[in-house]
Symmetry: C2
Subunit: 284 residues, 2 copies
Protein backbone atom coordinates (compact mmCIF):
# COMPACT_ATOMS: atom_id res chain seq x y z
CA UNK A 1 0.00 0.00 0.00
CA UNK A 2 1.55 3.23 -1.09
CA UNK A 3 1.76 6.28 1.12
CA UNK A 4 -0.71 9.12 1.15
CA UNK A 5 0.37 12.70 1.97
CA UNK A 6 -0.87 12.02 5.53
CA UNK A 7 1.84 9.36 5.95
CA UNK A 8 4.62 11.93 5.50
CA UNK A 9 3.26 13.92 8.42
CA UNK A 10 2.69 10.73 10.42
CA UNK A 11 6.27 9.52 9.87
CA UNK A 12 7.55 12.91 11.00
CA UNK A 13 5.29 12.78 14.03
CA UNK A 14 6.38 9.23 14.88
CA UNK A 15 9.98 10.42 14.89
CA UNK A 16 9.02 13.20 17.32
CA UNK A 17 7.26 10.67 19.53
CA UNK A 18 10.38 8.53 19.50
CA UNK A 19 12.56 11.47 20.55
CA UNK A 20 10.19 12.00 23.49
CA UNK A 21 10.23 8.34 24.42
CA UNK A 22 14.01 8.52 24.43
CA UNK A 23 13.95 11.72 26.49
CA UNK A 24 16.25 13.44 24.02
CA UNK A 25 17.09 17.10 24.52
CA UNK A 26 15.54 19.67 22.19
CA UNK A 27 18.69 20.14 20.12
CA UNK A 28 19.04 16.42 19.38
CA UNK A 29 15.32 16.04 18.72
CA UNK A 30 15.38 18.97 16.32
CA UNK A 31 18.46 17.56 14.59
CA UNK A 32 16.63 14.28 14.02
CA UNK A 33 13.61 16.10 12.60
CA UNK A 34 15.73 18.33 10.37
CA UNK A 35 17.64 15.31 9.03
CA UNK A 36 14.38 13.48 8.37
CA UNK A 37 13.01 16.56 6.61
CA UNK A 38 16.06 16.48 4.37
CA UNK A 39 15.46 12.91 3.18
CA UNK A 40 11.66 13.05 2.82
CA UNK A 41 11.80 14.73 -0.60
CA UNK A 42 13.77 11.72 -1.89
CA UNK A 43 10.55 9.70 -1.82
CA UNK A 44 7.33 9.83 -3.79
CA UNK A 45 3.83 8.50 -3.44
CA UNK A 46 5.16 5.20 -4.87
CA UNK A 47 6.70 4.09 -1.58
CA UNK A 48 5.08 2.16 1.24
CA UNK A 49 5.11 3.70 4.74
CA UNK A 50 7.51 1.03 6.10
CA UNK A 51 10.00 1.72 3.29
CA UNK A 52 10.29 5.34 4.42
CA UNK A 53 10.13 4.44 8.14
CA UNK A 54 13.17 2.23 7.60
CA UNK A 55 15.20 5.29 6.67
CA UNK A 56 13.75 7.73 9.18
CA UNK A 57 14.51 5.31 12.02
CA UNK A 58 17.97 4.72 10.61
CA UNK A 59 18.59 8.44 11.11
CA UNK A 60 17.40 8.16 14.71
CA UNK A 61 19.80 5.25 15.23
CA UNK A 62 22.67 7.18 13.73
CA UNK A 63 22.06 10.46 15.54
CA UNK A 64 21.49 8.77 18.91
CA UNK A 65 24.36 6.38 18.17
CA UNK A 66 22.12 3.55 19.27
CA UNK A 67 21.40 0.56 17.00
CA UNK A 68 18.24 -0.28 18.95
CA UNK A 69 16.82 2.98 20.35
CA UNK A 70 13.55 1.44 21.48
CA UNK A 71 15.06 -1.58 23.23
CA UNK A 72 13.85 -0.40 26.63
CA UNK A 73 10.31 0.25 25.36
CA UNK A 74 10.29 -3.19 23.74
CA UNK A 75 11.40 -4.83 26.96
CA UNK A 76 8.69 -3.06 28.97
CA UNK A 77 6.05 -4.06 26.41
CA UNK A 78 7.14 -7.69 26.65
CA UNK A 79 7.11 -7.66 30.44
CA UNK A 80 3.65 -6.09 30.48
CA UNK A 81 2.31 -8.58 27.94
CA UNK A 82 3.66 -11.55 29.90
CA UNK A 83 1.58 -10.57 32.93
CA UNK A 84 -1.54 -11.38 30.90
CA UNK A 85 -0.57 -14.92 29.95
CA UNK A 86 -2.39 -16.74 32.81
CA UNK A 87 -5.55 -14.71 32.15
CA UNK A 88 -5.35 -15.33 28.41
CA UNK A 89 -4.75 -19.07 28.74
CA UNK A 90 -7.78 -19.18 31.03
CA UNK A 91 -9.80 -17.49 28.28
CA UNK A 92 -8.59 -20.08 25.78
CA UNK A 93 -9.42 -22.93 28.19
CA UNK A 94 -12.97 -21.65 28.68
CA UNK A 95 -13.56 -20.86 25.02
CA UNK A 96 -15.90 -22.82 22.77
CA UNK A 97 -13.98 -21.62 19.75
CA UNK A 98 -10.34 -21.66 20.73
CA UNK A 99 -9.06 -20.56 17.30
CA UNK A 100 -11.29 -17.47 17.28
CA UNK A 101 -10.28 -16.61 20.84
CA UNK A 102 -6.60 -17.02 20.00
CA UNK A 103 -7.01 -14.76 16.96
CA UNK A 104 -8.75 -12.15 19.11
CA UNK A 105 -5.88 -12.36 21.59
CA UNK A 106 -3.35 -12.00 18.80
CA UNK A 107 -5.11 -8.97 17.36
CA UNK A 108 -5.49 -7.42 20.80
CA UNK A 109 -1.73 -7.70 21.14
CA UNK A 110 -1.52 -5.31 18.22
CA UNK A 111 -2.53 -2.45 20.53
CA UNK A 112 0.79 -2.85 22.33
CA UNK A 113 2.67 -0.21 20.46
CA UNK A 114 5.34 2.06 21.87
CA UNK A 115 4.75 0.24 25.16
CA UNK A 116 5.97 2.66 27.78
CA UNK A 117 4.73 5.80 26.04
CA UNK A 118 1.00 5.45 26.12
CA UNK A 119 -0.64 4.20 29.25
CA UNK A 120 -3.32 1.94 27.85
CA UNK A 121 -5.38 -0.41 29.96
CA UNK A 122 -4.67 -3.70 28.24
CA UNK A 123 -7.21 -5.60 30.34
CA UNK A 124 -10.04 -3.28 29.27
CA UNK A 125 -8.92 -3.52 25.66
CA UNK A 126 -8.81 -7.31 25.80
CA UNK A 127 -12.30 -7.55 27.22
CA UNK A 128 -13.52 -5.07 24.63
CA UNK A 129 -11.97 -7.02 21.76
CA UNK A 130 -13.40 -10.34 23.01
CA UNK A 131 -16.80 -8.70 22.65
CA UNK A 132 -16.12 -7.06 19.28
CA UNK A 133 -16.58 -8.64 15.88
CA UNK A 134 -14.00 -8.34 13.14
CA UNK A 135 -15.07 -5.46 10.87
CA UNK A 136 -13.76 -7.46 7.93
CA UNK A 137 -14.24 -11.07 8.92
CA UNK A 138 -12.70 -13.87 6.89
CA UNK A 139 -12.51 -16.13 9.91
CA UNK A 140 -14.48 -18.98 8.34
CA UNK A 141 -12.23 -18.95 5.28
CA UNK A 142 -9.16 -19.05 7.48
CA UNK A 143 -10.61 -21.92 9.50
CA UNK A 144 -11.39 -23.88 6.34
CA UNK A 145 -7.91 -23.40 4.96
CA UNK A 146 -6.20 -24.30 8.24
CA UNK A 147 -7.98 -27.67 8.18
CA UNK A 148 -6.10 -28.69 5.04
CA UNK A 149 -2.93 -26.64 5.61
CA UNK A 150 0.47 -28.20 6.08
CA UNK A 151 2.68 -25.14 6.35
CA UNK A 152 1.55 -21.98 8.12
CA UNK A 153 3.36 -18.68 8.53
CA UNK A 154 2.69 -15.98 11.11
CA UNK A 155 4.43 -12.72 10.25
CA UNK A 156 5.21 -11.00 13.55
CA UNK A 157 4.87 -7.30 14.19
CA UNK A 158 5.64 -5.54 17.49
CA UNK A 159 7.31 -6.58 20.70
CA UNK A 160 4.82 -7.31 23.44
CA UNK A 161 2.38 -8.33 20.74
CA UNK A 162 4.79 -11.21 20.04
CA UNK A 163 3.95 -12.69 23.45
CA UNK A 164 0.29 -12.88 22.46
CA UNK A 165 1.34 -14.42 19.14
CA UNK A 166 2.83 -17.29 21.12
CA UNK A 167 -0.67 -18.12 22.37
CA UNK A 168 -1.97 -18.12 18.80
CA UNK A 169 0.92 -20.37 17.78
CA UNK A 170 0.23 -22.70 20.69
CA UNK A 171 -3.47 -22.97 19.77
CA UNK A 172 -2.72 -23.46 16.07
CA UNK A 173 -0.29 -26.28 16.83
CA UNK A 174 -2.71 -27.94 19.24
CA UNK A 175 -5.63 -27.81 16.80
CA UNK A 176 -3.94 -28.54 13.49
CA UNK A 177 -1.26 -30.88 12.22
CA UNK A 178 0.89 -28.12 10.75
CA UNK A 179 4.46 -26.95 10.43
CA UNK A 180 4.51 -23.40 11.80
CA UNK A 181 6.90 -20.54 10.99
CA UNK A 182 7.18 -17.20 12.78
CA UNK A 183 8.68 -14.39 10.70
CA UNK A 184 10.66 -11.61 12.38
CA UNK A 185 12.48 -8.50 11.12
CA UNK A 186 16.13 -8.73 10.14
CA UNK A 187 17.26 -5.94 12.49
CA UNK A 188 15.86 -3.71 15.23
CA UNK A 189 13.39 -1.34 13.59
CA UNK A 190 11.11 0.75 15.78
CA UNK A 191 9.61 -1.65 18.33
CA UNK A 192 9.28 -4.60 15.96
CA UNK A 193 10.05 -8.15 16.95
CA UNK A 194 13.43 -9.51 15.87
CA UNK A 195 14.99 -12.92 16.30
CA UNK A 196 16.31 -11.89 19.72
CA UNK A 197 12.91 -11.27 21.29
CA UNK A 198 11.32 -14.22 19.47
CA UNK A 199 13.98 -16.58 20.81
CA UNK A 200 13.54 -15.20 24.31
CA UNK A 201 9.80 -15.99 24.16
CA UNK A 202 8.15 -19.43 24.11
CA UNK A 203 7.66 -19.14 20.36
CA UNK A 204 10.44 -21.64 19.52
CA UNK A 205 8.37 -24.35 21.25
CA UNK A 206 5.67 -23.98 18.61
CA UNK A 207 7.23 -22.43 15.51
CA UNK A 208 10.46 -22.18 13.61
CA UNK A 209 11.65 -18.58 13.92
CA UNK A 210 12.60 -17.13 10.56
CA UNK A 211 14.83 -14.07 10.40
CA UNK A 212 13.46 -12.52 7.22
CA UNK A 213 16.31 -10.08 6.78
CA UNK A 214 13.96 -7.13 6.26
CA UNK A 215 15.12 -3.80 7.68
CA UNK A 216 11.59 -2.44 7.22
CA UNK A 217 8.80 -2.36 9.85
CA UNK A 218 6.75 -4.62 7.57
CA UNK A 219 7.57 -7.79 5.61
CA UNK A 220 8.75 -6.19 2.37
CA UNK A 221 9.54 -8.66 -0.43
CA UNK A 222 12.08 -6.24 -1.91
CA UNK A 223 14.24 -6.71 1.16
CA UNK A 224 13.27 -10.22 2.28
CA UNK A 225 15.94 -12.93 2.12
CA UNK A 226 15.51 -15.95 -0.17
CA UNK A 227 14.90 -18.32 2.72
CA UNK A 228 11.91 -16.39 4.01
CA UNK A 229 10.51 -15.78 0.54
CA UNK A 230 10.63 -19.50 -0.22
CA UNK A 231 8.70 -20.30 2.95
CA UNK A 232 6.32 -17.37 2.34
CA UNK A 233 5.52 -18.56 -1.17
CA UNK A 234 5.22 -22.22 -0.26
CA UNK A 235 3.03 -21.78 2.81
CA UNK A 236 -0.59 -22.88 2.66
CA UNK A 237 -1.68 -20.11 5.01
CA UNK A 238 0.02 -16.81 5.84
CA UNK A 239 -1.24 -14.70 8.74
CA UNK A 240 0.33 -11.22 8.67
CA UNK A 241 0.07 -9.26 11.90
CA UNK A 242 -0.24 -5.49 12.19
CA UNK A 243 -0.45 -2.54 9.82
CA UNK A 244 3.23 -2.58 8.85
CA UNK A 245 2.94 -6.02 7.26
CA UNK A 246 -0.35 -5.02 5.67
CA UNK A 247 1.21 -1.88 4.19
CA UNK A 248 4.18 -3.85 2.89
CA UNK A 249 2.22 -6.70 1.29
CA UNK A 250 -1.27 -5.51 0.44
CA UNK A 251 -1.72 -4.85 -3.31
CA UNK A 252 1.92 -5.93 -3.77
CA UNK A 253 2.19 -9.68 -3.27
CA UNK A 254 0.26 -12.02 -5.55
CA UNK A 255 -0.13 -14.64 -2.89
CA UNK A 256 -3.10 -14.86 -0.59
CA UNK A 257 -2.53 -13.45 2.90
CA UNK A 258 -4.77 -13.23 5.97
CA UNK A 259 -4.19 -9.77 7.46
CA UNK A 260 -4.86 -9.56 11.19
CA UNK A 261 -4.66 -6.08 12.70
CA UNK A 262 -6.23 -3.13 14.44
CA UNK A 263 -6.80 -0.11 12.20
CA UNK A 264 -4.71 2.67 13.67
CA UNK A 265 -4.92 5.43 11.08
CA UNK A 266 -7.30 6.98 8.60
CA UNK A 267 -5.15 6.10 5.58
CA UNK A 268 -5.37 2.34 6.17
CA UNK A 269 -9.00 2.73 7.26
CA UNK A 270 -9.88 4.29 3.94
CA UNK A 271 -7.79 1.76 1.95
CA UNK A 272 -9.95 -1.10 3.28
CA UNK A 273 -13.17 0.80 3.84
CA UNK A 274 -13.10 0.45 7.62
CA UNK A 275 -12.75 2.80 10.56
CA UNK A 276 -9.96 3.53 13.00
CA UNK A 277 -9.96 1.07 15.92
CA UNK A 278 -11.76 -1.62 13.89
CA UNK A 279 -10.28 -5.10 14.14
CA UNK A 280 -9.63 -6.79 10.84
CA UNK A 281 -9.18 -10.39 9.69
CA UNK A 282 -9.06 -9.91 5.98
CA UNK A 283 -8.10 -12.39 3.26
CA UNK A 284 -6.59 -10.79 0.17
CA UNK B 1 8.87 32.45 21.76
CA UNK B 2 11.16 30.11 19.92
CA UNK B 3 10.06 26.85 18.42
CA UNK B 4 10.33 23.48 20.08
CA UNK B 5 10.83 20.29 18.04
CA UNK B 6 7.06 19.75 18.31
CA UNK B 7 6.48 22.92 16.27
CA UNK B 8 8.26 21.44 13.25
CA UNK B 9 5.81 18.55 13.21
CA UNK B 10 2.91 20.91 13.88
CA UNK B 11 3.85 23.19 10.97
CA UNK B 12 4.05 20.15 8.70
CA UNK B 13 0.70 18.95 9.97
CA UNK B 14 -0.88 22.37 9.50
CA UNK B 15 0.22 22.30 5.88
CA UNK B 16 -1.43 18.90 5.44
CA UNK B 17 -4.62 20.25 7.02
CA UNK B 18 -4.53 23.16 4.60
CA UNK B 19 -4.17 20.82 1.59
CA UNK B 20 -7.27 18.99 2.83
CA UNK B 21 -9.18 22.21 3.37
CA UNK B 22 -8.30 23.15 -0.21
CA UNK B 23 -9.32 19.69 -1.48
CA UNK B 24 -6.00 19.31 -3.27
CA UNK B 25 -5.22 16.05 -5.03
CA UNK B 26 -2.64 13.71 -3.47
CA UNK B 27 0.11 14.67 -5.92
CA UNK B 28 -0.22 18.38 -5.21
CA UNK B 29 -0.53 17.81 -1.46
CA UNK B 30 2.59 15.63 -1.48
CA UNK B 31 4.43 18.23 -3.54
CA UNK B 32 3.62 20.87 -0.93
CA UNK B 33 4.81 18.61 1.89
CA UNK B 34 8.00 17.65 0.05
CA UNK B 35 8.78 21.31 -0.66
CA UNK B 36 8.15 22.22 2.98
CA UNK B 37 10.39 19.35 4.08
CA UNK B 38 13.11 20.82 1.86
CA UNK B 39 13.04 24.21 3.58
CA UNK B 40 12.60 23.07 7.21
CA UNK B 41 16.33 22.31 7.69
CA UNK B 42 17.05 25.97 6.88
CA UNK B 43 15.70 26.89 10.32
CA UNK B 44 16.87 26.27 13.85
CA UNK B 45 15.40 26.42 17.33
CA UNK B 46 16.05 30.18 17.23
CA UNK B 47 13.02 30.94 15.08
CA UNK B 48 9.45 31.62 16.20
CA UNK B 49 6.66 29.42 14.83
CA UNK B 50 5.14 32.31 12.81
CA UNK B 51 8.50 33.00 11.14
CA UNK B 52 8.56 29.48 9.73
CA UNK B 53 4.81 29.43 9.02
CA UNK B 54 5.32 32.51 6.83
CA UNK B 55 7.52 30.46 4.52
CA UNK B 56 5.57 27.20 4.61
CA UNK B 57 2.39 29.05 3.64
CA UNK B 58 4.28 30.90 0.94
CA UNK B 59 5.05 27.53 -0.62
CA UNK B 60 1.36 26.63 -0.48
CA UNK B 61 0.53 29.93 -2.20
CA UNK B 62 3.14 29.31 -4.89
CA UNK B 63 2.26 25.68 -5.58
CA UNK B 64 -1.49 26.33 -5.63
CA UNK B 65 -0.87 29.54 -7.57
CA UNK B 66 -3.23 31.30 -5.16
CA UNK B 67 -2.14 34.36 -3.18
CA UNK B 68 -4.89 33.78 -0.60
CA UNK B 69 -5.53 30.04 -0.42
CA UNK B 70 -7.75 30.26 2.65
CA UNK B 71 -9.93 33.13 1.42
CA UNK B 72 -13.01 30.93 1.31
CA UNK B 73 -12.41 29.57 4.83
CA UNK B 74 -11.90 33.13 6.07
CA UNK B 75 -15.16 34.24 4.47
CA UNK B 76 -17.10 31.37 6.04
CA UNK B 77 -15.59 32.12 9.46
CA UNK B 78 -16.62 35.75 9.19
CA UNK B 79 -20.16 34.86 8.12
CA UNK B 80 -20.48 32.39 11.00
CA UNK B 81 -19.14 34.88 13.52
CA UNK B 82 -21.53 37.59 12.34
CA UNK B 83 -24.52 35.41 13.21
CA UNK B 84 -23.55 35.71 16.87
CA UNK B 85 -23.49 39.49 17.01
CA UNK B 86 -27.08 40.02 18.30
CA UNK B 87 -26.57 37.34 20.98
CA UNK B 88 -23.22 38.83 22.01
CA UNK B 89 -24.48 42.40 22.20
CA UNK B 90 -27.31 41.10 24.36
CA UNK B 91 -24.70 39.56 26.67
CA UNK B 92 -22.87 42.89 26.86
CA UNK B 93 -26.12 44.74 27.54
CA UNK B 94 -26.97 42.40 30.43
CA UNK B 95 -23.49 42.32 31.84
CA UNK B 96 -22.47 43.96 35.11
CA UNK B 97 -18.86 44.06 33.90
CA UNK B 98 -19.00 44.95 30.26
CA UNK B 99 -15.23 45.06 29.82
CA UNK B 100 -14.79 41.54 31.20
CA UNK B 101 -17.62 40.23 29.05
CA UNK B 102 -16.15 41.88 25.96
CA UNK B 103 -12.74 40.33 26.70
CA UNK B 104 -14.36 36.93 27.11
CA UNK B 105 -16.11 37.39 23.77
CA UNK B 106 -12.85 38.42 22.15
CA UNK B 107 -11.00 35.41 23.53
CA UNK B 108 -13.85 33.10 22.55
CA UNK B 109 -13.43 34.37 19.01
CA UNK B 110 -9.97 32.88 19.12
CA UNK B 111 -11.48 29.38 18.76
CA UNK B 112 -12.54 30.35 15.25
CA UNK B 113 -9.62 28.87 13.45
CA UNK B 114 -9.64 27.22 10.06
CA UNK B 115 -13.35 28.01 9.98
CA UNK B 116 -14.78 25.50 7.61
CA UNK B 117 -12.54 22.63 8.62
CA UNK B 118 -13.56 21.83 12.14
CA UNK B 119 -17.22 21.86 13.04
CA UNK B 120 -17.16 23.50 16.42
CA UNK B 121 -20.24 24.59 18.26
CA UNK B 122 -19.50 28.25 18.83
CA UNK B 123 -22.56 28.79 21.00
CA UNK B 124 -21.50 26.05 23.44
CA UNK B 125 -17.96 27.43 23.50
CA UNK B 126 -19.20 30.94 24.18
CA UNK B 127 -21.35 29.81 27.09
CA UNK B 128 -18.48 27.73 28.41
CA UNK B 129 -16.05 30.65 28.24
CA UNK B 130 -18.49 33.02 29.93
CA UNK B 131 -18.42 30.59 32.84
CA UNK B 132 -14.65 30.00 32.81
CA UNK B 133 -12.04 32.09 34.57
CA UNK B 134 -8.84 33.17 32.90
CA UNK B 135 -6.10 30.70 33.89
CA UNK B 136 -3.67 33.58 33.96
CA UNK B 137 -5.76 36.58 34.93
CA UNK B 138 -4.37 40.10 34.71
CA UNK B 139 -7.79 41.59 34.17
CA UNK B 140 -7.61 44.02 37.08
CA UNK B 141 -4.25 45.32 35.87
CA UNK B 142 -5.66 45.83 32.39
CA UNK B 143 -8.70 47.62 33.79
CA UNK B 144 -6.52 49.93 35.89
CA UNK B 145 -4.33 50.78 32.92
CA UNK B 146 -7.25 51.40 30.61
CA UNK B 147 -8.59 54.02 33.00
CA UNK B 148 -5.57 56.23 32.38
CA UNK B 149 -4.79 55.13 28.82
CA UNK B 150 -4.93 57.47 25.88
CA UNK B 151 -3.82 55.18 23.05
CA UNK B 152 -4.77 51.52 22.90
CA UNK B 153 -3.80 48.89 20.35
CA UNK B 154 -5.56 45.61 19.64
CA UNK B 155 -3.42 43.28 17.53
CA UNK B 156 -5.82 41.17 15.48
CA UNK B 157 -5.42 37.50 14.78
CA UNK B 158 -7.79 35.36 12.74
CA UNK B 159 -10.73 36.10 10.48
CA UNK B 160 -14.02 35.42 12.19
CA UNK B 161 -12.35 36.29 15.46
CA UNK B 162 -12.01 39.81 14.06
CA UNK B 163 -15.81 40.18 14.20
CA UNK B 164 -15.72 39.51 17.92
CA UNK B 165 -12.86 42.00 18.25
CA UNK B 166 -15.23 44.65 16.92
CA UNK B 167 -17.40 44.12 20.00
CA UNK B 168 -14.36 44.54 22.24
CA UNK B 169 -13.43 47.71 20.36
CA UNK B 170 -16.98 49.03 20.68
CA UNK B 171 -17.01 48.40 24.45
CA UNK B 172 -13.54 49.90 24.92
CA UNK B 173 -14.53 53.04 23.06
CA UNK B 174 -17.81 53.37 25.00
CA UNK B 175 -16.12 52.92 28.39
CA UNK B 176 -12.87 54.85 27.92
CA UNK B 177 -11.80 58.07 26.29
CA UNK B 178 -9.14 56.46 24.11
CA UNK B 179 -7.74 56.49 20.64
CA UNK B 180 -7.97 52.89 19.40
CA UNK B 181 -5.86 51.11 16.76
CA UNK B 182 -6.51 47.69 15.24
CA UNK B 183 -3.42 45.98 13.80
CA UNK B 184 -3.73 43.59 10.87
CA UNK B 185 -1.25 41.52 8.84
CA UNK B 186 0.40 43.01 5.79
CA UNK B 187 -0.73 40.23 3.43
CA UNK B 188 -2.94 37.14 3.45
CA UNK B 189 -1.25 34.57 5.68
CA UNK B 190 -3.18 31.47 6.72
CA UNK B 191 -6.59 32.71 7.92
CA UNK B 192 -5.32 35.87 9.58
CA UNK B 193 -7.09 39.18 9.36
CA UNK B 194 -5.75 41.68 6.81
CA UNK B 195 -6.81 45.21 6.00
CA UNK B 196 -9.40 43.87 3.55
CA UNK B 197 -11.42 41.95 6.15
CA UNK B 198 -10.93 44.63 8.79
CA UNK B 199 -12.29 47.30 6.48
CA UNK B 200 -15.25 45.10 5.55
CA UNK B 201 -16.16 44.79 9.25
CA UNK B 202 -17.48 47.49 11.56
CA UNK B 203 -14.01 47.95 13.05
CA UNK B 204 -13.35 51.28 11.26
CA UNK B 205 -16.22 52.78 13.28
CA UNK B 206 -14.22 52.24 16.48
CA UNK B 207 -10.55 51.97 15.57
CA UNK B 208 -7.99 53.09 13.06
CA UNK B 209 -6.98 50.03 11.06
CA UNK B 210 -3.22 49.70 10.81
CA UNK B 211 -1.69 47.55 8.10
CA UNK B 212 1.43 46.42 9.94
CA UNK B 213 3.18 45.06 6.89
CA UNK B 214 4.00 41.76 8.54
CA UNK B 215 3.91 38.68 6.32
CA UNK B 216 3.95 36.48 9.44
CA UNK B 217 0.91 35.03 11.27
CA UNK B 218 1.95 37.03 14.32
CA UNK B 219 3.02 40.66 14.84
CA UNK B 220 6.77 40.23 14.33
CA UNK B 221 8.81 43.39 14.93
CA UNK B 222 11.45 42.20 12.45
CA UNK B 223 8.93 42.59 9.66
CA UNK B 224 6.67 45.31 11.03
CA UNK B 225 6.58 48.63 9.19
CA UNK B 226 7.73 51.86 10.91
CA UNK B 227 4.22 53.23 11.19
CA UNK B 228 2.94 50.28 13.18
CA UNK B 229 6.06 50.07 15.35
CA UNK B 230 5.69 53.73 16.26
CA UNK B 231 2.08 53.21 17.35
CA UNK B 232 2.99 49.93 19.09
CA UNK B 233 5.74 51.59 21.10
CA UNK B 234 3.75 54.73 21.94
CA UNK B 235 0.55 52.96 23.00
CA UNK B 236 -0.42 52.97 26.67
CA UNK B 237 -2.04 49.55 26.38
CA UNK B 238 -1.48 46.78 23.82
CA UNK B 239 -3.84 43.80 23.70
CA UNK B 240 -2.41 41.04 21.48
CA UNK B 241 -4.92 38.43 20.36
CA UNK B 242 -4.13 34.76 19.73
CA UNK B 243 -1.11 32.49 19.94
CA UNK B 244 0.58 33.80 16.80
CA UNK B 245 1.00 37.27 18.28
CA UNK B 246 2.06 35.76 21.60
CA UNK B 247 4.69 33.62 19.86
CA UNK B 248 5.98 36.60 17.90
CA UNK B 249 6.19 39.03 20.83
CA UNK B 250 6.58 37.09 24.06
CA UNK B 251 10.15 37.20 25.39
CA UNK B 252 11.07 39.37 22.38
CA UNK B 253 9.57 42.81 22.82
CA UNK B 254 10.56 44.95 25.79
CA UNK B 255 7.25 46.67 25.99
CA UNK B 256 4.40 45.48 28.15
CA UNK B 257 1.68 43.58 26.31
CA UNK B 258 -1.59 42.00 27.45
CA UNK B 259 -1.83 38.65 25.71
CA UNK B 260 -5.39 37.42 25.21
CA UNK B 261 -5.73 33.91 23.80
CA UNK B 262 -6.83 30.31 24.11
CA UNK B 263 -3.99 27.83 24.61
CA UNK B 264 -4.10 25.53 21.60
CA UNK B 265 -0.92 23.48 21.95
CA UNK B 266 1.33 21.90 24.55
CA UNK B 267 4.35 24.01 23.59
CA UNK B 268 2.65 27.31 24.47
CA UNK B 269 0.96 25.65 27.45
CA UNK B 270 4.31 24.68 28.89
CA UNK B 271 5.87 28.09 28.07
CA UNK B 272 3.33 29.82 30.34
CA UNK B 273 2.66 26.99 32.76
CA UNK B 274 -0.93 26.49 31.67
CA UNK B 275 -2.92 23.75 29.98
CA UNK B 276 -4.34 23.34 26.52
CA UNK B 277 -7.79 24.99 26.21
CA UNK B 278 -7.07 27.40 29.08
CA UNK B 279 -8.02 31.02 28.41
CA UNK B 280 -5.30 33.53 29.13
CA UNK B 281 -5.19 37.26 29.85
CA UNK B 282 -1.55 37.68 30.70
CA UNK B 283 0.46 40.88 31.15
CA UNK B 284 4.13 40.54 30.26
Amino acid sequence: MNIKPDCLVCLFNQALKTTKLLNLDDETSAKILFEIAKILPNYSLNYTPPQIAKDTYKLIEEITNNPDPLSKAKEISIQEAKKFKPFLYEEIKNSDDKLLTALKIAVAGNVIDFGAKKQFNLENILNEIFNTSFKIDDYLKLKEQLKIAKKVVIIGDNCGENIFDVILADVLKSLYDIELFYFVRGKPIINDVTIKEANESDMPKFATIIDTGVPTPGYDLKYANEKSKKIFNAADVVIAKGMGNFESLYQITNREVFYLFIVKCNVVASAINANEKDIILCKK
